[in-house]
């Protein structure tokens, strides 16, 4: 069972926080901080889980999710979306795009940990 997580996020403090939490739980966390070549990072790293921000410079999280789902090799990749735009329509849009889980910022560290564990376990 893999423990590799790819965090795609542009806010340095959030990257640090999420990395700290997951690392302490034994996850192998890799990060990527812009939208342009996020899909390349996913392809290169082949993580067991992708944590994706929505408001990314260069390309939105939704577009990246669409690219992941369109790639035959990556289509089954579990994706957790974290967004600061906590509106209902964003959640709907995310679910339509084929996201596995969706969480709004700010979040409880324990919740994130639990969700990540459950997503990779299943």
């Amino acid at each position: 069972m893999g423990r590799r997580v790819l965090l795609i996020e542009d806010e340095p403090n959030i990257i640090e926080a999420v990395s700290f939490i997951l690392s302490r739980d034994g996850w192998d966390v890799k990060t990527h901080s812009n939208g342009h070549d996020a899909i390349d990072a996913v392809r290169a790293r082949r993580p067991d889980l992708v944590i994706l921000d929505v408001m990314l410079p260069g390309k939105s999280g939704f577009d990246i999710l669409h690219e992941i789902r369109s790639d035959s090799e990556l289509s089954g990749m579990p994706v957790l979306m974290l967004t600061a735009r906590g509106q209902v329509k964003d959640r709907e849009l995310a679910e339509q795009s084929g996201v596995n889980r969706f969480m709004t910022k700010p979040f409880s560290n324990a919740d994130v940990l639990e969700v990540v564990r459950s997503m990779v376990a299943s």
């Binding site: 403090n13 260069g58 600061a84 979040f107």
Partner: protein, 898 residues
């Protein structure tokens, strides 16, 4: 007695036949059928009412007494018909276009619709016509008496007076029946006209029959007849030149002015083109009528005993020869001549009397209240019927009083001279624009006064109407005022004398007064309408009649009140008339109903004008046009008001639409703004929460980690606070609630302050300044301006991607403005972002530099408040912003150059 009985029977049958003809023609006309009613032949024959009993009987008497002079009576109309054909055409056109109902109406209408003139003409016409009607009654009674006298047994006969009364009553009844069936706007009487046309044929046939009998039956051929004429006293008569000219002119004038002639020639005219036919056919008719006058007169003088009334030769010659059938025919011919004249004259005069005398008086008495109610029509009809009865009765009274002694021709000529007084006013009105109301009234009055004094009153005989003293020595004993020798013109024929003086004085007064007095505006207008009638009115088409007209009316009505309503209206009317299909006959009732209906949409005058355009073939009169213009003006005013209202509503709607669009836009912007704020707030809060949870929950954290995470929390709260400050600042600036604190200071000091506050490290970031140009005094809110500078310098620090970043600050003066450019040496802002950088939450480039993207938006708001501007300068080496400030001349002048 048998002959007399037969005569009475034939007379009765003839009258019944006339009633039937008139009734049938009326019915056919109302059904819109019978185009034969509208033929030029009928028109020409109807003109023959000129030939009354006077012509039928009197011409022979005239010839027997005065030789060839009788020809003048035929010559006048012939000359008018052939030579003055265009005058008649003009009269007909005017009559049509102005919807003239009588000669009085024509004259009054021409001279500014003057009712005074109308009343005057009406009274004169009645006075002039009454003897003429009496003359017809006299001829009928005389001819009846002739028959009676011829009876072998002296059976008891009705007196002449009672015959005349019965004839008068019969004529009144006929005229009322067929002359006032309806108040048709065009005053056309198809039944009457048809009856008259038939009588014209009868009288011509009768006269020709007697003539043929006399020439070939009595005289024994043409040669013999001519010989007898040569032998008779007729040949010996001297031809008086002045009398010839005078009589010819008189009959020509009378032909134009006689009310009954005007009635058949103008009012009953169906088509202007009929005049063309009549111009040759009517002279031909007159020629046939006059063909056997001389032979009958000559043979009569020869055959009949001395002292026989030459006025009755036409009747007495066949009787003398025992030709009772021919005599009856002759009687019927004379009867026809007399009755047709009385009928038409009564119609013409009653129209004048009721329209110009009775109706105005009645309206005056009732105060005009009846105009609005429907019984006006009934009153008008009643007035006309009473007028007819009155006029015929007047004729009878004249006959009763004068005793019937005067020669037929003399009464006729007196009457002619009377109505001929209308001529100057009539012709002047048609051809002379300067002719006016005052002139016409003065001329007419003068002419009639002279006619009365010189001809009419003396015609009653010496010492009856005028004292013998006046006749002999003049009025008030003034010698030059003798009625038959005015101004000393002695030795003239009394008739020629009266005609000459009355006509010439009439004309002179009319012309002189017209020249020296001024016409009213309506007169000028009407004058132009009458004189230039051919320019103002199109050629009037013939009366198309019947259903074709209804079709035209329907087409017009559909345009006005809409197809469904118009069709329903027409269909209902058709059903009411008992007709299959959807088109009713254009009956007067229906036309009135239609006019009322259309009035609701286009106004009464317009509706009337439109309908009569189609039905009457009439052109629109000036009054109509003026009324239409009034209505149009009202409608235009109304519609322009509506238009203004519509415009206003449109403007309001547009404003509302724009406001709505703005609101929608604002709502979208607000949503986007809230979403942005939410994101900007949640991001630092996420870090704060995450790290505070780490600090709380994680055991065994290193001290360095603890302090680092606490620092992050601290920085993020500072960021949050700054964000909230910016939001509030922007909100205050945008709402215009900001209070500006104006101060005066140096630009270079302000820039020093801004650079220091921006936290820029001068060792890694070089700033190029122009101290010389910075030596400018500013009077503005210095703190706010510093805020803008700090923002721009901070942006350069955050976003300039050059390895050795340089920011150039270059102030310069341009006219009354101060420009301060901030140009760095980075890669600048991509063109597609340049337009967005001043919007809220927009960020340059991909990296976040801690700002929420509100900085430039705030700068823009501040500069707007300071009366200046901030803009991006494209095409520079790097990112370039220009701050523009208004600079008053005095502060600009304080610039010191070192």
């Amino acid at each position: 007695m048998a002959t007399l009985n037969v005569l009475v029977l034939v007379c009765f049958l003839y009258v019944t036949f006339l009633f039937a003809i008139a009734f049938g023609a009326d019915r056919a006309a109302r059904r819109g059928r019978g185009t034969w009613l509208r033929s030029p032949v009928v028109y020409t024959l109807s003109l023959s009412i000129y030939c009354t009993a006077w012509t039928f009987y009197g011409a022979v008497g005239f010839a027997a007494r005065s030789g060839l002079e009788f020809v003048t009576i035929y010559l006048g109309p012939t000359l008018v018909m052939i030579g003055w054909w265009w005058t008649l055409r003009k009269m007909v056109r005017v009559g049509r276009s102005q919807r003239i109902t009588s000669v009085a109406d024509l004259i009054s209408s021409r001279y500014g619709k003057s009712n005074l003139l109308a009343v005057f003409v009406t009274v004169l016409a009645v006075i002039g016509t009454t003897p003429y009607i009496a003359l017809q009654l006299q001829s009928v009674t005389l001819s009846f008496a002739t028959f009676a006298a011829n009876e072998p047994t002296g059976t008891e006969l009705p007196s002449q007076q009672s015959i005349a009364l019965w004839v008068a009553l019969g004529l009144a009844v006929f005229t009322i029946l067929f002359g006032t069936r309806n108040l048709d706007a065009n005053e056309r009487h198809h039944g009457v006209v048809m009856a008259i046309a038939l009588e014209a044929v009868v009288k011509l046939f009768a006269l020709l029959a007697v003539g043929v009998f006399v020439v070939w039956g009595l005289a024994g051929g043409i040669g013999e007849t001519l010989a007898r004429i040569d032998a008779s006293p007729i040949a010996a008569w001297e031809v008086s030149g002045s009398r010839w000219v005078g009589l010819t002119m008189l009959s020509a004038a009378a032909f134009l002015c006689l009310p009954r002639m005007f009635q058949v020639m103008v009012v009953e005219n169906e088509d202007e083109g009929h005049l063309r036919t009549a111009s040759w056919a009517f002279p031909a008719y007159l020629m046939l009528m006059s063909l056997f006058v001389l032979p009958i007169a000559a043979v009569g003088l020869d055959v009949l005993p001395e002292g026989a009334n030459p006025d009755l030769f036409v009747l007495t010659l066949p009787l003398q020869e025992g030709r009772d059938g021919l005599a009856i025919l002759s009687f019927i011919g004379g009867f026809s001549s007399a009755t047709s004249m009385v009928i038409v004259a009564a119609i013409a005069l009653s129209t004048m009397v009721s329209n110009h005398v009775v109706m105005p008086v009645w309206l005056w008495i009732t105060g005009g209240s009846a105009v609005m109610s429907g019984d006006l029509r009934n009153v008008a009809l009643l007035a006309r019927r009473i007028s007819i009865a009155g006029i015929v009765l007047l004729g009878y009274l004249y006959f009763h009083m004068s005793g019937g002694g005067t020669a037929l021709a003399e009464i006729g000529l007196v009457s002619f001279a009377g109505v001929a007084q209308f001529l100057p006013a009539l012709m002047g009105g048609l051809f002379w624009r300067a002719a006016n109301h005052t002139g016409a009234l003065a001329g007419l009055a003068t002419g009639f006064a002279v006619w009365m004094y010189c001809l009419f009153l003396p015609s009653f005989g010496p010492s009856s109407a005028l004292p013998q003293a006046v006749l002999d020595h003049g009025l008030f004993g003034l010698h030059w005022l003798r009625p038959q020798a005015l101004f000393g013109t002695e030795g003239m024929d009394p008739l020629v004398h009266a005609v000459m003086w009355s006509m010439s004085l009439n004309t002179i007064v009319f012309v002189t007064v017209s020249i020296i007095s001024f016409p009213r505006p309506v007169e000028r207008l009407q004058g132009a309408q009458f004189v230039n009638v051919f320019e103002h009115s199109g050629n009037t088409a013939g009366w198309t009649g019947g259903l074709a007209q209804s079709e035209d009316l329907l087409i017009m009505s559909q345009r006005i009140i809409g197809a469904p309503q118009a069709q329903a209206l027409f269909a209902t009317a058709a059903t009411r008339q008992g007709l299959a299909g959807y088109l009713p006959e254009p009956s007067p009732d229906f036309l009135q109903e239609l006019e009322r209906e259309l009035s609701g949409s286009v106004g009464a005058a317009t509706a009337h004008a439109m309908i009569s355009q189609i039905v009457g073939g009439a052109t629109v009169s000036v009054e109509d046009l003026m009324a239409v213009a009034d209505e149009t003006a009202q409608i235009m005013e109304y519609s322009s008001r509506l238009e203004a209202k519509t415009e206003e509503q449109e403007r309001t709607a547009r404003q509302l639409r724009e406001a709505n669009q703005k609101l929608t836009q604002l709502s979208v912007q607000k949503d986007a703004f809230l979403s942005q704020i939410s994101h900007e707030l949640r991001t630092p809060m996420t870090s704060i929460r995450a790290f505070s949870e780490i600090l709380r929950d994680t055991r065994g954290l290193k001290a360095a980690e603890k302090s680092k995470y606490a620092a992050i929390i601290h920085d993020e709260t500072v960021r949050l606070t700054r964000l909230l400050d910016d939001l509030l600042d922007l909100s205050v600036l945008e709402n215009g609630q900001v209070v500006l604190n104006s101060q005066t200071g140096h630009l270079d000091a302000l820039l020093d302050r801004a650079i220091a506050a921006s936290g820029l490290d001068k060792r890694t970031f070089r700033i190029e300044r122009d101290r010389l140009a910075e030596d400018v005094m500013l009077t503005t809110d210095l703190d706010r301006l510093a805020q803008v500078f700090i923002n721009l310098i901070s942006n350069a620090r955050k976003y300039c991607d050059s390895a050795s970043p340089v920011l150039k600050i270059a102030p310069k003066r341009q006219n009354d403005r101060l420009l301060i450019d901030f140009i760095d040496n980075g890669s600048g802002i991509p063109t597609d972002h340049q337009s967005m950088i001043f919007e809220k939450f927009s960020r340059i480039g991909e990296t976040k530099a801690g700002g929420a993207g509100l900085g430039l938006a705030i700068c823009r708001e501040i500069m707007a408040r300071l009366g200046g501007d901030i803009s991006y300068l494209p095409g520079q080496s790097g990112a370039a912003f220009r701050v523009t400030l208004p600079q008053s001349p005095d502060t600009a002048g304080s610039t010191a150059s070192a």
